[in-house]
Structure formats: C-alpha cells, structure tokens
C-alpha cells in the first residue's frame, strides 16, 4: 500500500482542489487528488467564470486581484489563455441601485481599485446590443473580465502534474480512516489512500464527504442555469465586450463566441439532494427541459435588458449545481471535531475566480498553520455550534435563502420571479 501514501489527499478534482494541490506541490508536498468522476467535470465544468474583483470587503478584493496575477503566471506556464480582460459594467435603473454604484465606486477607490462611473451614451457604444435608455447610472471596471474555466482547470492540472501531483479519476471517496479524532486516509473502490492531511474540496458533495466523519457541514447543493446565445446577425457581441451585472433584474453575463452569455440568481432555484443522485452522476449530462421554469424566468429577465433575446433565440443552455453556504462565502480551514481534515468548499457560484488565491490560502493553512490573508470571513468553523446550523433541513433553507438574495433586495417590480411572470401573462 506504500504507493498510496502521500503527504496530503485532496478530495475533489474541481478548481478548488486542483489549485490547492498545485500550490501544495509547488512547495514540495506530495499530493494525491481523488476525483469521483473526471477532472473538472463537476461545477467547474459548468461555470461561467465571471471575474468581478470588487467584492464586499477589501480583503476579498485583494484575493481576487492577487488571483489575476497567479492566473497570468499560469497562462505563461501552461501556454493557454485563461483570463480574458474585457472590463465589466454594473448598471442601475433605480435610485436605490444608483446609490449602490456610487457607494461601490467610493469603496473601490479607497483601495485603489480601478472603477469609474461611465456615461450611459458611452455604455451604449460599448454594448450596442444592450438596452440602455432606461438606465440612470453605470460604472466601469476596466481590469475585470472572465476566466475560462476549462483552461484554468487544465492549467492547474498540468502545472500540478509537473510538480508531481498524482490524480486518480473515477475514484470516489467512500470512507474516511480515523484514528480517534485524527484522520489518516480514505477508502475508495481503488483501495485505501493514506495521508495525515485530507482536504475536502468535493463541492456539492462536500457535505456528504463530511458526513463520513459524522461532521455537519452547512452547505447546500443548488441548481443554476445560464444561457449562451448563438451569434445573432443583428446583435453581434464582440469577444472583448464587457462583462455585466444588472442587480435589478438579477442577471449577469459576458461575451461568449460571438454570442451573449446570461445567467441569473433568481428568487428561487432547484434544490438537489446529492444522496439521491446516481453514484456515477455526471453533471455535464444535465440539461434543461424545454419547459424549465427557471430557464424561462432567466429568459424573461434577460429580455428586459436585451429585448432581442427570447425563448426562440437559438441558444445553448448550461445547467449545473453550485455549492452554497448560508452567507455566500466559502469554508476554508479546519473544524474542531477532527484533526488533519481541512475544508475547501462552498464557493457559492464564485469558485472559478476565487480558486487561484484560495489555493495559496489553503497551502498556507496546511503547511504554515496560518495564512497571509485575513481569512476570518471564510474560516470553515464560523458556523460551528452556532444554533440552527446542525440540522440539514435548516441549513438547506438558509443556503437557499442566501442564493435568492444574492443580488440583494429588489425593490418595486420583482424581476425574475413567478409573480412577475404572472403579471406578464395576465
């Protein structure tokens, strides 16, 4: 069994696990990544990869800005284009949303992040395919863009392999080997794998992996859908057109192959019981029905901003599963119940863009016992023993609510909801 021995086992071959494995290996650790299916074929393979560096706090923004530098290095090492710097816009059509943008600009400037208000007519020139006549305010972040998820995952994989990371695919973890409170390996259909450190980076499955040690992890598996139009003859979308966020309609998007990608954090979303999915469930095979309610709500919301887009527009629909936490922030670090068991999960729809810095943070936590970042807001134990976070139904409900309020309270007309749709169909 000596061949199945390493310093660290990473459970999950998505961007979180791959980035962590790569950073650990770069620092000389022997790392084994165990992936239940294929590398990058879970949430990673379904992601849109939008990079909006300005987040709620200065520290999160710093993580994302540093992440861009890591990605630029990766691009050189793996010889692929990952980061597409298109710039991004946020648009507002109500006084409340306009105030949010004003606050955001102020906050960005306070940490030297490049953000400016952009005149609406200039916005209309940059994005001729977008309705702008109802907008009052817009802001422009020239250094934003998106990361190409597949290229990012394969770059982590390649650079990790060059540094000796071992990857085992079709290798689901079925048990955790414990010596008292101390983890020392895992069981899989391919036999036991041994390491004094385990990292649970299993995305939507991570609460099930946590369950193997009777640990309650407050994450929920929630469905998400986005559409990508085929290039429209009258509304071409240049590959360097800005990414956008329109909180009032709960939509985000970016250019993709001459078409437009649009997704939504709707008021509600499908919930998944990962336990009930087949053991060999393949997320890449998920598809939306022709009468998928959430897709219809997305199209309805997208149409408010892009009036040429409707249910008959030739489009590709991507559905997948995200791992949400009750506050929309990931879990990174250890929990008090076991030693040697780290968590790196719960990215709530932002795993791609967070993964570069998260890999650094995880490697620091594991090898140094502390991180050079202030990780208070993403520490894994922040809900430990907090009332209401021990029961799965309660956790599910709190995470679900978080997803629904991801773009904040929508005042007045509630875009992207069934109520809105009922009005539209009346």
């Amino acid at each position: 069994m000596s061949e199945n021995k390493s310093d660290i086992i990473i459970i999950g071959g998505g961007v979180a696990g791959l980035s962590t494995a790569m950073q650990l290996a770069k620092r000389g650790a022997s790392v084994t990544v165990l992936e239940r299916e294929q590398i990058g074929n879970g949430s990673t393979g379904r992601a849109a990869g939008l990079l909006g560096q300005l987040r709620g706090t200065a520290e999160h923004t710093r993580m994302l800005m540093d992440g861009v530098e890591i990605v630029k290095e990766l691009e050189a090492q793996a010889n692929v284009e990952i980061y597409v710097q298109t710039g991004s816009v946020r648009v507002a059509e109500t006084p409340e949303r306009a105030q949010e943008l004003t606050d955001l600009i102020e906050m960005g400037r306070s940490i030297n992040f490049d953000i400016n208000e952009i005149p609406i007519d200039e916005l209309a020139e940059r994005m001729p395919y977008m309705r702008t006549d109802d907008l009052t305010t817009a802001c422009w972040c020239p250094t934003d863009g998106h990361l190409q998820p597949a290229e990012l995952a394969s770059a982590y994989h390649k650079v990790g392999r060059d540094h000796g990371v071992r990857y085992e695919t079709n290798c689901p973890v079925t048990g955790v080997l414990l010596d008292g409170k101390k983890a020392h390996g895992v069981q899989t259909p391919k036999g036991e794998f041994h390491a004094p450190i385990l990292v649970n980076a299993a995305g939507p499955w991570s609460h099930l992996v946590a369950g193997l040690t009777n640990t309650t992890l407050p994450t929920a598996a929630l469905g998400h859908v986005y559409l990508t139009t085929q290039p429209h003859p009258d509304h071409p979308v240049d590959r360097l057109s800005p990414g956008f966020r329109n909180r009032h309609h709960r939509i985000y998007g970016r250019p993709e192959n001459g078409g437009l990608l649009v997704g939504m954090y709707g008021e509600d979303c499908p919930e998944f019981d990962m336990n009930k999915l087949p053991p060999d469930f393949d997320m890449s095979a998920m598809k939306a029905r022709r009468d998928d309610l959430h897709l219809a709500m997305l199209i309805h919301a997208a149409q408010q901003r892009f009036p040429w887009l409707n249910e008959r527009t030739p489009m590709h629909v991507t559905t997948g599963i995200m791992t949400f936490t009750p506050d929309g922030l990931p879990f990174c670090g250890q929990l008090p119940d076991h030693e040697g068991l780290f968590y790196c999960t719960g990215f709530s729809g932002h795993g791609i863009v967070q993964s570069p810095a998260i890999g650094v943070i995880m490697s620091e936590l594991i090898l140094d016992g502390q991180s050079s970042y202030d990780i208070a807001s993403i520490e894994a134990d922040r809900y430990w023993e907090v009332p209401g976070f021990q029961d799965r139904a309660e956790i599910q409900q709190r995470c679900y609510k978080m997803q629904g309020s991801y773009y904040g309270r929508v005042e007045g007309k509630t875009a992207g909801t069934q109520t809105d749709a009922k009005e539209a169909s009346a």
Binding site: R290, A296, I299, R312, S425
Partner: protein, 250 residues
C-alpha cells in the same frame, strides 16, 4: 385545420444508463426522462406552421405513456400546443402497436397533417411514421428538413444519404422530422404558467378500441463498454507493434 404531433417520453440519452436486474430493460431508478428531441422538432414545426401560415390551426400533442408521461405533454403544451392527449399505457410498446393507437386517435381527430419525429432516441426504431402511413393509406414524407405548403399539399425536402430529395405530397399526410428541420424553442414563462392550467385529455388503448398485439419481444440488453483505455507509446514502431497486438493491423 388540425395538426397531430405524437410525443414520446424517452430516457435522456446523455445520462449514464444502467440495466435492470433482469437485463431486459433500463434501470428506471433515478432515470431522467425528456420529450424525444425529434418530437420536439415536430412540435416546433407545427407551431411554426400555425404562426406563419395557418393561424386557425389546432396543434394536438399525443403521447402513449404511463401517468407520469403527463410531464412531457406539459412540455408540448408549454411550447404552445393547443391540446394534449395521454393514452395511458404501462408496459412495453412497439412501433406497430404505437402506430395502431395513433391511427385510432387520427380516425377520431381527423387531422390534416401528422408531424412526428423521424425516430425516438431510445430505441432508434424509425418505423412508427412509416407504419402509420401504411395503416392509414396516407402519403408519407420522412426525414423532412423543410416543409412548405403549396396548393393543396406539401413540398417537403427529405434528407437522404444521397442528398436532399424534394417531393410533393397531397394532404392528409404523415411527415417525420429530421434534425435540421428547425431549432425548437424553449417555453416562455407566461406559456409555462398557462400550460399548468390546461387539462390533459386522457384515454386508454381499450377506450380507443385497440387490443395491443405485441410484435416485438425484447430478449435481452447489454451495455456497450465505452471506457477507453489510453496508453502512451514512445515510437512509431511501438505503435505498430501495439496495433498488431490488437489485430488492427496484420
């Protein structure tokens, strides 16, 4: 004018399939079903005809399925079909008997045009449309990639192995849809909500006066192993040796 669109409920072919314990069918546990994609194309074409040429036309979706098959008829309604009929049937069917059931519905509904998928993606039989035309004595245009109304009939482009064949047919007729006929729409939100309120008409083979006479018996199924084994070879002669080993090259 009435257009009838048979809609088959099929397991989503992109998911990983397992056989049932007796290996005479697919394990239905945790299986996801969809409206047969070729039938969705037929629904779209019927809606397109109603929207562009025959605004007074009625589009009727019909399915032969267990009670759960209502979900797929609901899809057709949400896309825009006017009515939906479920012929409730549990257990296996075969193209001949499906055609007989559809013929009974057609006798009752008297549609001018039957638009259906060229085949279902579960058994890929590609027989039902042809059997139905034969049973009714109607003309058929299979593998349609373009349909035009002309005079009292249709001009249909058929996709064949030799190229596009253009034929004319009188009505009523059976037309089976090929992949390139159109790109089916997704249902709009108002349309989904309206479809939820519509009732689905119900009948049974017995009510239609059809005694099923199975002509196909499924003896067994086996899964094709699609696991690929990759191995890196260093030189061309090593590659040749490998190919000889597997008897690809003599």
């Amino acid at each position: 004018m009435k257009m009838l669109v048979p809609c088959k409920r099929v397991p989503d072919p992109d998911q990983k399939l397992r056989l049932n314990a007796e290996a005479v069918g697919i394990d239905s546990n945790a299986l996801t079903y969809i409206l047969n994609p070729f039938d969705a194309i037929a629904v779209e074409e019927a809606l397109h005809i109603r929207e562009t040429a025959h605004p007074d036309a009625e589009v009727i979706a019909v399915s032969i399925a267990p009670a759960e098959g209502e979900a797929d008829l609901r899809t057709a309604l949400a896309m825009g079909a006017d009515r939906a009929l479920l012929i409730e049937h549990n257990g296996p069917t075969d193209p001949w008997n499906v055609a007989r059931l559809l013929a009974a519905v057609i006798e009752h509904e008297q549609p001018t045009l039957v638009l259906m998928g060229k085949q279902a993606v579960d058994d890929d039989a590609n027989q039902t449309g042809q059997f139905l035309a034969a049973q009714l004595g109607w003309p058929q245009a299979t593998f349609a990639s373009q349909i035009e109304f002309i005079d009292d009939g249709l001009r249909v482009h058929r996709e064949t192995d030799l190229g596009i064949e253009v034929i004319r047919t009188t009505l009523p007729a059976i037309v089976t849809a090929d992949l390139r006929l159109n790109e089916p729409r997704y249902a709009s939100l108002p349309s989904i909500l309206r479809a939820k309120k519509k009732s689905i008409e119900q009948t049974t083979p017995a009510e239609l006066g059809v005694q099923l006479e199975p002509r196909v018996r499924l003896i067994g199924m086996e899964l094709i192993n699609s696991q690929r084994h990759c191995e890196k070879v260093e030189t061309a002669s090593n590659l040749l040796a490998k190919l000889r080993e597997t008897e690809v090259v003599e």
